[in-house]
Amino acid sequence: MDFFSFNEILSIFSATIRISTPLIFAAMAGIFSERSGVVDIGLEGKLLAGAFASASVAAVTHSAWLGLGAAIVIGLILSLIHGFASITHKGDQVVSGVAINIIVSGLTVVLGMAWFHRSGQTPTLPNDARFMPINLYGVDTISNIPIIGDIYSKLLSGYNLLVYVSFAAVALTYWTLFKTRFGLRLRAVGENPKAVDTAGISVNLLRYKAVLIGGILTGIGGTYISIAQNASFIKDMSAGQGYIALAAMIFGKWKPIPAMFSCFLFGFLEALSMRLQGVSLPLIGEVPVQLIQASPYILTVILLAGFVGRAIAPKADGIPYIKER
């Protein structure tokens, strides 16, 4: 196939990275939460809330950083609500997550209308109130070298800060889970909370911490969506990415690095499908748009069926811990 030039391939990959970034944040949040035994369907709502908070605060203060801070605070608050329902009160985790998604989807628009009078949209941000693409060191000189220069300038450089932060988040997630005391306990509590309890550690506290970390990460993810990737908040702009992140997390078997790669996979398939629209394939001719749009999902199913073995969730995932049993 010769549809794609080298440059186009580079651009597909860089689009992949841009599309994957919010998925990665949300997937890492999901890993923390579910590794501790708390299912988090509310990722979608938290992303959306983060997007709204950062766009609103950035619009008022003209500071991307304050926007980020606000998004993190909102993520933490929503996580506390989720924790209060599903950890403290042993409520159903899925219902709690669904409720959060619905509330956020409504409340962001209600508040947006009340504050900015623009049918739920926030004002468009000037560039200095956003996270803008940054050029890595020496891009200008290196970009003149063929191939390597292109790879450096188009594939490695030129993303906004949060993209790089997302990679750091993956590394940090991996490190926290597998190299620290906290991570050991976290993984244990998702597998067998009784073992953790009898080892003298508070199950609830541990789960709260995990869920709160998830709140921070989704806050950053939401910030990326509204003030890095875009320049304002638009209602429901998370557009299902929280659910895709959840799927990526499961696809990655609740492990940070594989989960990151499955986010890339989703991102890649999406980026590819965007470029395939309207391209007519040899023999087949022009493929219906809908088939191309569905292709990421179809491919995911095929990959799942063919290559990925049974995904085993943390054993206590989704089960409230009730002592007297």
Partner: protein, 373 residues
């Protein structure tokens, strides 16, 4: 899922606690409504009146409930085999496709009494077929059903747009929707049915499907708790190892359960396509599949609970619409917020108030006992 920690009279668990939860949700809503500058009590009155205040309101409430019963049952039955079917949305969409295919093909030739069972079959077969691949992959390839059903929702949406825009569209029409069915392919509305027996009720989309939904609930109840197949299904859900010890073919049970689940979700197509819209159109599922998850969980995966939760959700949808209609300051998004709060308090914070009630109850009993002495 929640184990009651201390025995309380049943009526407290099924009446008092749900009421308290509803009150808590409403109190938070009241604060929010007040903050945006509307009269909260007026709003709540409008909402309740809208949902239950007229036969039309009740009709709408039950019409929504019909959809939720179908999708709620779909989620619940899968849950009994420990399968998390998130695909109700897509299965319902494709179920509607099945209804439309049958009705468009035969409405010129066949009478209503033949079309109804055919459309029922078609909705279930199409819905089940859409669940079949995720089911197969789960049973025989170990692919996670949550992901595959999410993916199939997206695939269904794309398929439907393709079909509607390129195949079913009425020539010359602006709208991607099929031609309307002939009258004989319309499912009788409740209004018409009641008129036949001499009772006048106002018009609403409520139609015969509601009865189908109740029948479906009854069948699910029978199937899950009173047949050997339901027994096998629950065995697989609780313990796959014990099930295979008992000679149960676990993979086949997974397949069958998911097919039933998909079939139930597909029945949304009967209510929407045959009962209300009378033509195939885009996005008629409007999130009912997802709401079904909350309905099933709130109804504790039991048909009676699901019917009650469905009516609650139906009331929220209908009352919410009325509220938004009559109070311009309250937008549809505000209604979402109220709905979300009710789900949160009654579905997830279900037992928050229980310890308090237990204490109250103990005190009450002690004082009563003291008095008796």
């Amino acid at each position: 899922m929640n184990q009651a920690s201390k025995p309380l009279p049943v009526w407290i668990d099924i009446v008092v606690i749900p009421l308290i939860n509803l009150m808590l949700a409403l109190s938070v809503s009241i604060v929010i409504i007040y903050l945006i500058g509307a009269n909260p009590f007026e709003a709540i009155k409008l909402m309740i009146q809208g949902a239950f205040g007229s036969s039309e309101g009740v009709g709408y409430t039950l019409y929504y409930a019909t959809n939720f019963i179908f999708t709620g049952l779909a989620v619940a039955i899968a849950f009994h085999s420990m399968l998390f079917n998130i695909g109700g949305e897509g299965q319902a969409y494709i179920g509607g496709l099945g209804v439309a295919v049958v009705l468009l093909a035969f409405d010129h030739y066949l009478p209503a009494w033949m079309l109804v069972p055919m459309a029922l079959m078609a909705s279930m077969v199409f819905g089940a077929a859409w669940a079949a691949i995720p089911a197969y992959l789960q049973a025989y390839r170990g692919s996670h059903i949550v992901i595959t059903t999410i993916m199939f929702n997206f695939i269904a949406a794309n398929l439907m747009v393709y079909l509607l825009v390129n195949i079913f569209i009425e020539p010359g029409s602006m709208t991607p929707q099929s031609r309307p069915f002939l009258d004989n392919a319309w499912l009788p509305s409740m209004q018409a049915i009641f008129a036949d027996i001499g009772i006048k009720i106002s018009e609403s989309p409520l139609n015969l499907s509601f009865i189908f939904a109740l029948i479906a609930s009854f069948f699910v109840w029978i199937y899950v708790w009173h047949t050997r197949w339901g027994y096998e299904m629950r065995s697989v859900g609780f313990s796959e190892q014990a099930a295979s010890y008992a000679g149960i073919k676990t993979k086949r049970v997974v397949m069958i359960t998911m097919l039933i689940s998909g079939g139930l979700a597909g029945l949304v197509g009967i209510n929407e396509i045959m009962g209300v819209q009378h033509k195939l159109m885009l996005d008629f599922v409007a999130g009912y599949g997802f709401t079904g998850i909350a309905v099933a969980l709130m109804g504790r995966n039991h048909p009676v609970g699901i019917i009650m939760a469905s009516i609650l959700f139906g009331a929220l949808f209908q009352g919410g619409a009325e509220l938004a209609f009559d109070m311009p300051i309250i937008s549809k998004e505000m209604v979402f917020v109220i709905q979300g709060l009710i789900i949160l308090f009654s579905g997830a914070l279900t037992y928050m108030s229980r310890p308090w009630i237990e204490k109250l109850f103990c005190v009450f009993y002690q004082t009563r006992n003291l008095r008796e002495i």
